[in-house]
Symmetry: C2
Subunit: 301 residues, 2 copies
């Protein structure tokens, strides 16, 4: 009989919760933890385990850490709860937050002192794909870390990119992806409002441009939110000052100028200042519309 | 018997030449004109007509004007050769250059004084699709202009977007597309070189990102040129200071800030200053690489 797999997911936001569900569905004994009790109760109702994670942490095979950033990741691993010191030798941390590559390397090294493997495993795909077990994971780490993480990777990902043999390259590729994704969202908003000033309606913009050379994955995914005037957050504006900030920090340290990432960051920061941080990131269009006196679909100025 | 269609193509660059070939293939009697005699000879060898266009202009049903910009378009229509005054009533100008919407409206009005229809018909798709008769055309104009242009549209386009009922919206949509396309090319270059500073090789960048949320039509089309180190021009760097300049002019007049288009324009202008104007537009990556001391594939610093 195949040994049961004990999985933990720390951080039950829209991504982490979906990933935990995917693990339940794959037959793992799945423990969730979040600062808010509500998603923990919800997960338990959907087949998750009831015990408190930090009391049974030594029985866990793989912990997916799906928190906001590097600082929170470090806090889970070595801070308040300090789970790594209590984990069994040969178990694995699968770190999914976007963070600087150097930070990921540091986490890997500190885990190795406890005999715990570390997979640098940023995720991409959004909450719907997380719940469907169809994420893209850009992973790097030792072959032992990949082997120890294989059950949770298979449960949560459709595509697993093996980017490198130590922690670092996975986070680097995620930063590259976020640079592009963030700039593409802001550019979509810029082009959509630019079209409006010339009498091109948002629906027409979406219909034509999505079939032309100006299209992007983000345009096809986010422009419909603006067309329908629905800014309920799939991915929040708040993500971008954080992720583009990481990009700019890394780029500055490498002496690379990134003027487009810098320009996009400014637009998202302005959106946060306008009180739009909790809205869908397509709400960056409101920055453009507000500055030019345009009225977006469903919006009253 | 169906009446023979007499088509003229003014401007036999890589786009216009391919479009003229598509008209020959569709059975049109096709006349070409260019400031350089070489493509005119070449077109004649491939089935084009031998007579001088400006001597038989009154026999032409549709003139596709595939020149660089608004100024050249005006020159063809009302300047040196002043073809519109000599064209028969009910024939049509199909204007394919990227230009400001207001300028297109002005051209339409001036053509109408001579009983000549005007279709505002910017093109998208590149030289390979032009030669295959598979362009996307973002057209706007009266139903009479569309009817008069139907034979040349069918010969050259796979997709015809009917954007509006007067000249203007077609050019506006093209400007929207160029804003996105130009920013996406520069962003691809920024992200690719950013990845290189973090140990992500250009091949790995292309392989992973083209399957992730950071992808764009331009990334998938242009990044392979950088990976292979081949900058023979499909579309030149020189296009972008012109087209993004048009975008910024229109946006400024509409009081819309376009910081991403402005940032991309600067990168292309720097590429031109580095002497890269005649290279493929993916060569904007050399601006980033040069500034950061990186060596791109096939390049020796």
């Amino acid at each position: 009989m195949k040994k049961e797999h004990n999985t933990a997911v720390v951080g039950l936001g829209s991504m982490g919760y979906g990933m935990a569900l995917s693990c339940v569905r794959a037959g793992h004994k799945t423990y969730g933890y979040d600062v808010s009790p509500e998603p923990m109760r919800r997960l338990q109702n959907e087949g998750g385990q009831g015990e408190k994670l930090f009391e049974i942490i030594s029985t866990i095979d793989a912990v997916m850490v799906v928190v906001l950033n590097a600082r929170q990741t470090e806090d889970v691993l070595f801070g308040t709860h300090g789970i790594v010191a209590q984990m069994r030798k040969g178990s694995v941390i699968v770190a999914c937050a976007t963070m600087p590559p150097d930070f990921a390397r540091d986490m890997e090294e500190r885990c190795s002192m406890f005999g715990v493997f570390y997979l640098d495993a940023p995720i991409s795909g959004g909450s719907i794909k997380a719940a469907a077990g169809q994420l893209s994971i850009m992973a790097s780490g030792t072959s032992e870390a990949f082997a120890a993480a294989s059950a949770v990777l298979n449960a949560t990902a459709e595509t697993i990119f093996k980017i490198g043999k130590t922690a670092g390259p996975g986070s680097a590729m995620k930063a590259v992806n976020q640079l592009l994704a963030g700039v593409h969202i802001a550019t979509m908003a810029e082009a959509l409002t630019f079209g409006m000033t010339q009498g091109v309606a948002p629906e027409m913009f979406l219909e034509v441009i999505s079939k032309c050379a100006g299209s992007s994955w983000m345009l096809e995914n986010r422009a419909p939110h603006i067309v329908s005037g629905d800014y309920s957050p799939h991915s929040q504006v708040n993500i971008w000052p954080k992720d583009l900030g990481i990009v700019l920090d890394i780029a500055r340290a490498a002496n690379l100028g990134t003027p487009l990432a810098a320009a996009a960051l400014k637009q998202f920061e302005e959106a946060v200042e306008m009180g739009l941080g909790g809205e869908d990131d397509s709400a960056v269009a409101k920055v453009y519309a507000h500055n030019a006196g345009l009225s977006l679909p469903g919006e009253i100025l």
